[in-house]
């Protein structure tokens, strides 16, 4: 075969095959987040009333939680809804870990997304209460500030107020512990770079580090 024809054929087909491989290897449902490595959007949200017994945290039902007042402490924010089955599986690990870290500089919050407060309260009570507060975001303004695309999604916020990690999909006991321990030990350097040693691949889709 003519060498020139072969070369031309390769020039045409190789880029197309490369494009196919690159394009078909992507998950179009995975939406990247620019938040890891950047300051967490501040929120000031009321605590859901009758949301169980907060055994580990100060704010009571009806009080307002202001994220900016928690600088210097690690914050775990979990977006959820009572109609979300995956969110229910996170209830026990989050509640237990909130108790586990009760005497350390860690705050756990759940933010209710697109759900009726009474439905959330009923579910929390049916699951034996919750050791930390659920906050109300009635117009989803905070959810949109955090680039929410669905629930559950969990954000790990470092002491300096930077989003260290975003967990899309259900999280796990191990993943939460690893991130919280890491942030408590201030091992996170504030960069949203790839870190092969991070616990990122344990739970759902990971973003950030």
């Amino acid at each position: 075969m003519n060498v020139k024809r072969m070369l031309l054929g390769l020039i045409i087909t190789v880029p197309i095959i490369a494009l196919l491989v690159a394009g078909l290897g992507r998950d179009p449902r995975l939406i990247p987040s620019p938040l890891p490595g950047n300051p967490a959007p501040d929120f000031s949200l009321p605590v859901l009333e009758t949301a169980g017994n907060f055994t580990v945290q100060e704010p009571g039902p009806g009080e307002v939680v202001d994220l900016s007042s928690l600088r210097g402490e690690v914050v775990v924010v979990n977006f959820w809804a009572s109609w979300c089955l995956s969110c229910r599986s996170e209830h026990v690990p989050l509640s237990r870990l909130a108790e586990h870290y009760a005497n350390q500089d860690v705050h756990f919050f759940r933010i209710l997304y697109n759900d009726r407060p009474e439905n959330a309260s009923r579910l929390i009570q049916s699951m034996g209460g919750q050791s930390y507060p659920t906050l109300l975001d009635t117009r989803s303004g905070t959810a949109i500030q955090y680039g929410l695309t669905g629930v559950p999604e969990t954000f790990f916020i470092a002491r300096d107020g930077t989003v260290a990690h975003k967990q899309v999909g259900p999280t796990s006991h191990e993943l939460i512990m690893q991130w919280v321990d890491r942030l408590l030990a201030q091992e996170w350097d504030g960069e949203a770079a790839a870190d092969p040693g991070s616990p990122a691949v344990r739970g759902g889709v990971t973003e950030g580090m």
Partner: protein
């Protein structure tokens, strides 16, 4: 038409060598024939593939890792709960809201803008646009606030910079190249119709 002639430079040698006698639409002398059409087709296909890739690239999208899980649930079953800011009587404000909503991608839909999507999240995002404009933010500030939260992915039209430029340049380039191939081929064929495809169907000379 002559100005397009340069586009065909290099093409005369790309014929695949198939016999013109079995390719009745092949132009005379087989120079810009099957190979040219193949090239044009490949370029078209490459462009079609590049468009979504460019959009993904501009958002820095990474392929899912081996431990990837399905994305979170996005079903919103309780429409009564929706409390987003409702449309107002201010026509100018609503026009601005719609203009911005048409530029922003609905996160829970397939290639739909917020303005076109019936999803609850899209309605809430539209409400947030309205609220932010009412609070005094400029349309550009509102647009940027969504980019800050969702990344450039949220823009339906990627910014014309860097790799994204391909999305804007390639269609024109492919159109010009394809048009040039067609024009050059047609001109050659019209100039020498006796050597065109009909030649293969001509009856053999009488003995």
């Amino acid at each position: 038409m002559r100005s397009l002639h340069w586009l065909a430079v290099g093409l005369p040698r790309i014929s695949l060598g198939a016999s013109r006698k079995v390719v009745p639409w092949a132009p005379s002398r087989g120079r810009t024939g099957l190979g040219g059409m193949l090239l044009a087709g490949c370029l078209m296909m490459g462009f079609a593939l590049l468009q979504p890739l460019a959009a993904a690239e501009q958002a820095g999208q990474a392929p899912p890792g081996p431990g990837s899980q399905p994305p979170p649930q996005t079903v919103i079953p309780d429409p009564d709960q929706f409390e987003a800011s409702a449309p107002t009587d201010d026509a100018q404000l609503e026009a601005q809201v719609q203009r911005l909503a048409r530029q922003l991608r609905c996160p829970t839909c397939q290639a739909l803008s917020i303005a076109d999507s019936p999803s609850e999240l899209a309605r809430e995002m539209e409400g947030v646009i309205r609220l932010r404009l009412q609070e005094g933010m400029t349309p550009e500030e509102v647009r940027q606030s969504f980019v800050n939260a969702y990344g450039e992915w949220v823009l339906l039209s990627p910014e014309p910079a860097g790799f994204n430029l391909l999305v804007y340049i390639l269609p024109v380039a492919v159109f010009l190249l394809g048009g040039g191939i067609v024009v050059v081929g047609m001109r050659k064929w019209l100039r020498n119709p006796s050597e065109g495809p009909l030649e293969v169907e001509r009856a053999p000379p009488a003995p």
